[in-house]
Amino acid sequence: MNEMSKNENLDIQIYNFAYLDENTKRMIRRALLKALCIPGYQVPFSSREMPMPYGWGTGGIQVTSACLIPKDVLKVIDQGADDTTNAVSIRKFFQKTANVAVTEKTSDASLIQTRHRIPETKLKEKQILVYQVPIPEPLRFLEPREVETRKMHALSEYGLMYVKLYEDIAKHGHIETAYAYPVKTNGNYVTDPSPIPKFDNPKMNNSPAIQLFGAGREQRIYAIPPYTNVKSLDFEDYPFEAMKANFKCSICGSSNSYLDEIIVSDDGKRSYICSDTDYCKEQTKLNSKKEDQL
């Protein structure tokens, strides 16, 4: 026990606050400021090697690291859950290197790092939401040339983005894209919201919180400042629809939160539960309170 805590103290001394050195954090903050000034524009930054593999949220971690201050309260979620591997390891990482307070409660957090979800609880001013982004370029699979996609952004040539939606409708009868659904930020840049389900897209619009996006491997940072218009792309006759599985959470009974499908038996029985564990807990508490009152 003593041995361990000594080691942990040692770690804090060896690493600079929040792992990255001050110059790197400064470089990232500059990129973040630029990104906030030009909503949706992908700012290149010189991404660092992090002590975990690409795809584990190295972009998000660097952004979080650059934003953290000692009095922050950090929440980390992975697909909405606080207790999955990615979330636990990133949370531990910052506890160790920055010694910040952590929480699972969305409303208590001042900085939330997320992988692929936006919390169900409405975010508020002075909160920062940091997204982990695998592929920041929404046009990547449509136009492979980076030089060309940058030009397309610069000249707002987004016809091709609609070709993807057209193909969806032609093939499936509706817009099949269910995650990483492209949005237009502030009426200007088409932006990849990272692979959040399209159910979460409306939450990005006019959000009081600051939304920051970090892509470590691709070395890009972009941002959506508070109260910015974020519109999901669609056709006049096929409007955007935020959709979710049409069931209730089998734990808290909520019918308006995003659900995970779980196979619960060998013969394929399914159950649906909230993907946002914090929201699910809150709802369960509320329910039991109501029952007590009765």
Partner: protein, 258 residues
């Protein structure tokens, strides 16, 4: 300057280092007119075409387009966004190889719709209807609208490329050997189609080819190029029936007679 012209290039030159791409070329195109550019491989035909389409920057000279609102635009002076907008709306470019001009992993309907969506169409039903109409016009079965071009034959791909380009009703279409890699009967079909579309819609065209039969069939006027220079220009029948320059004479006499 005559205000009725559609397109004008004056004294344009393009160099590749020490080598000449094309030198001192001038040409005029009137609305609805078809101009043929002929010459052997390496004579600068494609360079010229790419220069006047705005794909290649010219080293000397000016290129003017009389746009839909009767404003004369100089390609060498306007901004890149404006040029790209014009390339999408007023101009069109048909490549020799349909693979260069089509998106092979996107359905025929999507290929035709792309230019529409690029200029702001946002109604799926409308886009699809227009795409179906165009498939009909280029004689592709409408039931193939959701098939990818990779499942089409060479001739169908080329017809699809033509439809994709004409859908926004450009006023000038550039074609680089549009019948290049096709067999003779398919060539004839495409030429027939092109002739009808160009006449029916009143589109002006510039066709680069080394096939004199193609220009005889389609073009009103031709220019003959050799080593980057224009060596002869005139009405199509006049140049082909009575060539003056010795290279033109060689070109005309080397056509095989069946």
């Amino acid at each position: 300057m005559n205000q009725d012209f559609l397109f004008k290039a004056s004294n344009i030159s393009k160099y590749y280092g020490q080598n000449i791409g094309c030198k001192n070329v001038s040409l005029d195109i009137n609305p609805g007119e078809v101009l043929g550019i002929v010459g052997e491989s390496g004579s600068g035909k494609s360079t010229l075409l790419n220069c006047i389409h705005g794909n290649l920057e010219v080293d000397e000279g000016d290129i003017f387009l009389n746009d839909k609102s009767k404003t004369i635009l100089n390609f060498t002076k306007i901004s890149e966004p404006k040029l790209r907008l014009i390339q999408r709306s007023d101009l069109a470019f048909v490549h020799q190889n349909p693979r260069d001009g089509l998106r092979m992993n996107i359905s025929a309907g999507g290929n035709i719709g792309e230019r529409l969506m690029a200029i702001g169409h946002r109604n799926y039903g409308e886009i699809r209807e227009i795409a179906a109409n165009w498939l009909e016009k280029v004689e592709i079965d409408v039931s193939r609208i959701d098939d990818k071009p990779s499942t089409f034959s060479g001739g169908m791909q080329q017809r699809l490329q033509i439809a994709r380009n004409l859908v926004t009703r450009p006023r000038l279409i550039f074609m680089d050997e549009p019948t290049g890699g096709l067999d003779v009967s398919v060539q004839a079909k495409i030429l027939d189609l092109l002739r009808n579309l160009v006449r029916e819609l009143g589109i002006a065209a510039v066709i680069v080819t080394h096939d004199l039969a193609v220009v005889r069939l389609l073009a009103d006027r031709i220019i003959v190029m050799q080593n980057g220079n224009v060596i002869e220009a005139g009405l199509c029948d006049q140049v082909l029936d009575d060539p003056q320059h010795k290279y033109s004479q060689l070109l005309v006499s080397s056509v095989l007679q069946v």
